[in-house]
């Protein structure tokens, strides 16, 4: 990705941005996030199919944001997350420059977030076939079977919150689980408590999740918790006509329209 490295170097030399967020080679053939402030380090940037971590999780992190204007190497899922974050007033054109990487691995430097939005709207979020099949299988289960399935999958969860930490949309300074008056979700790992945590997180993502699978990729126990968020995404489409991350979004869970279907209530 020579163009990416070249552009990162130029931006830092000109001080147009203070930090470039991209990927570097990590341990065991993986890639990981890289934060460059020195133009000389731009050579460390890499990009290929291994780069699936959603770097947008870092643009709301205090130590990164406080460096000044950021530039970010953004694949399509990262771009979607950025647009959604912008619609929630977490980033704007003043503090973020997007170096987009198309699905064909070409670099596009977007002038502003509106251009990013236009690009993102060309593509629909599609659930991949393997997960689609799993979702269909669960759909066919009886409520009791479904309960057993989720208890079995979620009981091993030890509440490390890696899913929350890796998700670009989970940027709350104080998460719901971190309140104790009242303690909405129990702290210790337990059968019911784990269900409550994952269901609550999925619901908080309704209308916001960009289906990047960061949560699943982060989970040390490879729990298929992204099935919940994908189901939420499909439900949003079915009941509320779908959504695309948009700068001037009417957020799904906070917008009421008179023609909203209520067939699941009555």
């Amino acid at each position: 990705m020579d163009e990416l490295r070249r552009r990162a170097k130029e931006l830092l030399e000109a001080s147009s941005v203070k930090v470039v967020i991209g990927y570097e080679n990590g341990t065991d053939g993986k890639t990981r996030a890289l934060f460059i402030e020195n133009p000389a380090d731009a050579g460390k940037l890499v990009f290929d199919s291994r780069c699936i971590m959603n770097l947008a999780a870092y643009i709301t992190k205090h130590e990164v944001k406080s460096k000044g204007k950021m530039a970010i190497a953004a694949t399509l899922p990262v771009m979607r997350a950025i647009v959604q974050l912008a619609s929630e007033f977490q980033v704007n054109d003043n503090n973020l420059l997007v170096l987009g990487i198309t699905p064909e691995s070409k670099m596009i430097e977007f002038k502003d977030l509106t251009e990013v939005e236009t690009f993102v709207h060309q593509y629909q979020i599609e659930i991949d076939s393997r997960n689609k099949e799993m979702l269909d299988r669960i759909e066919k289960m009886t409520p009791s079977e479904r309960w057993d399935f989720w208890i079995q999958e979620l009981t091993p969860c030890f509440k490390c919150y890696a899913c929350r930490a890796a998700c670009p949309m989970c940027y709350c300074h104080r998460c719901t689980v971190e309140f104790n008056q009242p303690q909405w979700i129990p702290v210790p790992s337990s059968e019911l408590g784990n269900l409550e945590w994952h269901i609550m997180r999925a619901i908080h993502l309704a209308g916001r999740c960009v289906d990047c699978d960061a949560c699943y990729n982060a989970c040390p126990l490879a729990i298929p918790l992204n099935l919940l968020t994908k189901r939420m995404l499909l439900d949003a489409r079915e009941h509320f006509g779908g959504y695309q991350p948009s700068l001037k979004a009417e957020h799904l869970m906070s917008t009421y329209k008179p023609d909203d279907k209520e067939n699941f209530i009555m």
């Binding site: 971590m53 999780a57 992190k61 890696a162 210790p188 040390p220």
Partner: protein
């Protein structure tokens, strides 16, 4: 010390398992789910996963469960009835398939739970565990046991240590403790006489990557370094590293109420969470992630050796394998060793 070494044929392992089961032993061993390996109760030998360099979760749960009741209470007309834990309710466990780094880790965990105040709940559990360790024939780039005082054939912490003598080979079984002898006595036919087996050549080669004393000394002067911010930029602040670590023991205490009765539980916690040191007033001594990352390293490599005379790390590499951000503690320790402060 003369360790009793025996030869155990490859096929005998399954026989040993069955004999233990026939003697009503609860066996906890590495078990695979979703491509990750955790320690679970296993009923059949087939349930044990054996092809791995290291498991995803550590075996610390047998002595330090993720959620554990420490008392029950119940409000009634006369007042409050509070009941503690009955040690008799704690089962005896055979822990099957533990790497030498983890067996060393049990000693470090025990140091935390026994310094000054002795945690008898922890001790009741750990004393009921019989550890069947398995030496490492292979290692990967995440392993660094030899840098923290361990080695792939370390007997410390095992009751019996099995070393496979080459790929598909039979095993050398070192009977280290009385508990180990008790296991042998249940299946003495399976533990044959061993002829001068040198286990060293069957162990993995784990090169020493840093000098822990040098790291500890450097850390004394490193507290205010700007490097902590640079090192921790990637860190997302989850608890994965603490939870998979065999020696991390930080915990929370929570009450669970159900009407007039309930219980108090102890559960895992992590110094990496922002909530860990947050005062009710809103003041947080460790407000940003770089301070919390620093605490992790300093506690394991400086404070613990100082107060408890043990390092808080066994070099098992799990934290780096589990970390969603690839923080790789080994990289950081090497850079701390090389720093000129």
């Amino acid at each position: 010390m003369n360790i009793d070494g025996r030869l155990v044929r490859k096929e005998s392992l399954e026989k040993l398992f069955k004999i233990l089961k026939a003697n009503n032993r609860t066996i906890v061993g590495p078990s695979q789910k979703n491509g990750r390996i955790s320690y679970k109760m296993v009923e059949n030998y087939e349930g044990i996963t054996s092809e791995y360099i290291q498991t995803t979760q550590s075996p610390k749960e047998v002595a330090f469960p993720r959620t554990e009741k420490i008392l029950d209470y119940s409000k009634n007309a006369d007042g409050m009835t509070v009941k503690g834990i009955n040690a008799d309710d704690i089962p005896d466990i055979v822990l099957w398939g533990v790497r030498p780094c983890d067996t060393m880790g049990m000693g470090e965990l025990s140091a935390i739970f026994n310094w000054d105040y002795r945690d008898e709940i922890y001790n009741s559990r750990s004393s009921r565990v019989t550890v069947l360790g398995f030496s490492c024939g292979k290692s990967d780039e995440y392993c660094f046991c030899t840098s923290v005082g361990g080695n792939p054939g370390n007997i410390e912490g095992s009751d019996i240590l099995f070393t496979q003598l080459g790929e598909n080979g039979d095993y050398l079984a070192e009977i280290i403790t009385e508990k180990g002898s008790q296991v042998v006595s249940l299946a003495s036919d399976l533990f044959e006489k061993a002829e001068n087996i040198v286990k060293g050549k069957f162990l993995a080669d784990v090169p020493v990557r840093f000098e822990k004393e040098q790291v500890r000394q450097n850390l004394e002067k490193y507290f205010d370094s700007e490097q902590w911010v640079a090192q921790s930029l990637k860190c997302l602040g989850c608890g994965a590293c603490a939870y998979v670590c065999p020696t991390c023991a930080c915990f929370d205490i929570q009450d669970e109420a159900h009407g007039k009765s309930g219980s108090r539980v102890r559960c895992w916690d992590s110094c990496g969470f922002s909530l860990f040191t947050l005062h009710t007033s809103g003041h947080n001594p460790r407000e940003v992630q770089s301070q919390r990352w620093r605490q992790r390293i300093m506690h394991k490599f400086s404070y613990m050796p100082d107060r408890l005379s043990v390092y808080g790390c066994t070099g098992c590499g799990r934290c780096s394998r589990a970390c969603p951000a690839d923080m790789n503690i080994l990289d950081h320790l090497i850079s701390i060793q090389e720093v000129t402060v």
